[in-house]
């Protein structure tokens, strides 16, 4: 079934341990697991501070993915499932987290996670997931005030970008940078549907367009598609983008340009972290929110 060729859509998995946190000294050790349609993230938080995270591709079985991501996050920390006081599952496979104490919707978790990652000034979160795209308005506590979501159509989702990376034979993590290697910004790909956009891209390549130019045209089409979703809410500052596509500057810069509002840098990933080569992963917002809910629930239980 698997074809003998490189799979360009396969984005790199990641993990990180915070050297500044010793979980053994923590009071509340909580875990958040976000089982998405394309990727799964797991974080462990100690008293509301990020201890470690893992980010993997979702397998064909949600419970396995949940366990695998916990193991990935806990790698080298000595943490075991028994050490976790409370686990909250989120994402489309949230009810399939075998060690989960509770499931909370990804909208609430992303809102809460974005509030932690980017700070209480965030009012609008754009989460660009693997198979959906949502705009969430939040208050200073990270509570959801309103949201809009597209989960019916691959245009404007990570899956759509994976399909394109495969078509052009460009590793998906290089798409953003390559899309800026053009003399002039081409008009966006005119088809909304990813299937049609693929045939449109194929004919642009045949017409002699370099791959970079086709990528630019696709990134700006995706940006416009997302802009139309953003337009449904009154986008207020501060504005943050989470999810896998947030790593793709080719889409991010084109969205913020069309919107006229800059996207915030995360508060969590500051220069001090950057100097220490801490990998920053925009995909973990949902899992962070879940772990924070876990802490609140754990406190309520009084343990």
């Amino acid at each position: 079934m698997a074809e003998e060729r490189k799979e360009f859509w396969r984005w790199p998995e990641s993990r990180w341990t915070n050297p500044e946190i010793d979980w053994k000294k923590g009071k509340y050790i909580t875990c958040g697991i976000d089982v998405g349609s394309v990727s799964t993230q797991g974080v462990v938080m100690v008293d509301g501070g990020l201890c470690c995270y893992g980010n993997i591709r979702t397998g064909s079985n949600s419970p396995d993915s949940a366990i695998n991501v916990f193991n990935k996050a806990a790698e080298g920390t000595g943490l075991a499932l028994e050490d976790i006081q409370y686990t909250v599952g989120t994402g489309y496979g949230r009810v399939n987290v075998p060690f989960g104490n509770r499931a909370i919707t990804e909208i609430a978790c992303h809102a809460r996670g974005a509030n932690w990652m980017y700070g209480p000034s965030i009012r609008t979160v754009l989460d660009m997931g693997g198979q959906d795209c949502k705009v969430i308005k939040i208050d200073e506590k990270g509570k959801v005030t309103t949201f809009f979501m597209n989960d019916k159509c691959a245009a404007g989702t990570g899956r759509g970008m994976e399909v394109f990376a495969d078509l052009l034979g460009i590793p998906v993590q290089d798409v953003g940078d390559m899309s800026f290697v053009v003399e002039q910004e081409p008009p966006p790909v005119s088809s909304t549907c990813v299937v049609f956009a693929k045939s449109e891209a194929a004919s642009l390549l045949r017409a002699g367009w370099p791959k970079e130019k086709v990528l630019a045209a696709y990134c700006s089409a995706m940006a416009h598609r997302v802009f139309l979703l953003l337009e449904k809410v009154n986008v207020e500052k501060d504005f943050a983008i989470t999810g896998g596509i947030a790593k793709n500057q080719g889409v991010v810069k084109r969205i913020t340009k069309e919107l006229g509002i800059e996207a915030c840098e995360t508060r969590w990933y500051n220069k001090a972290y950057a100097d220490k080569n801490v990998p920053f992963d925009t995909q973990i917002a949902g899992a962070i929110g879940a772990a924070l809910f876990g802490k609140a629930l754990s406190e309520k239980l009084g343990n």
Partner: protein, 255 residues
Amino acid sequence: MISAGIDSGAKNVKAVIMKNGKVIAKAMVPAGLDAKVSAGEAYDEALKTAGLARKDVQKVLITGAGKKDCDFAQGEITEVGARAKGIIYAMPNARTVIEVGAEEGSAVRVNEKGDVVDFAINEKCAAGAGSFVEAMARALETQVEKMTDLYDRSTEEIVMNAQCAVFAESELVSLVHSQTAKPDIARAVLTAIADRIVSMMRRVGIEKDVAAIGGVALNGGFIKAVEEELNIKIAVPADPQYISAIGVAIAAAAE
């Protein structure tokens, strides 16, 4: 009066030659890189079958996705108009026509003269187009032509949740992984596309007889899925892929 009609589709280019209101030749070639070249090839092949040359044709018109790319047609007509005229030639009692082309699906209501009464069209999303079935057949590791046979062997009704062709492909892969029987998946795919087309038919109003044209009309499983959903009979004319081209040739003769 000798007229010709070209239907330059996203996947195939069809050409029809008519003489005094009767089809005398037809040809179909795959749409190549250059729609202009493919249109010329289909036209010349049909002319060859008819034993005619381009100069013998009094009027030639064109329709379809590639209609702007043609150096010999003297004008163009809309796809919807072509379908309406073509179906009344082939099946005078038809009042509702559905078509599923490679990149669009449509439902058209026509009157007895072959005029368009109302129509609905989807050209924005692959979920209601032939490429949906193709993508699914590929993911199922089968051919579109074999989908009907699979449909007939289905024993259990399952529903696909995803509408989007891209998401449906992932869903289909997980169905395959979870050992769902191939015939049941094939049926779910054809039912899904039938759903899209039926909703368009409801928008224009369903008046009998109902006819299906275009390449997907040859897919018996799809026709059955629509029939089951609406509980009415769908008629398929001979050579359903040529109906639009015939409509164009009729329009050419009338000008």
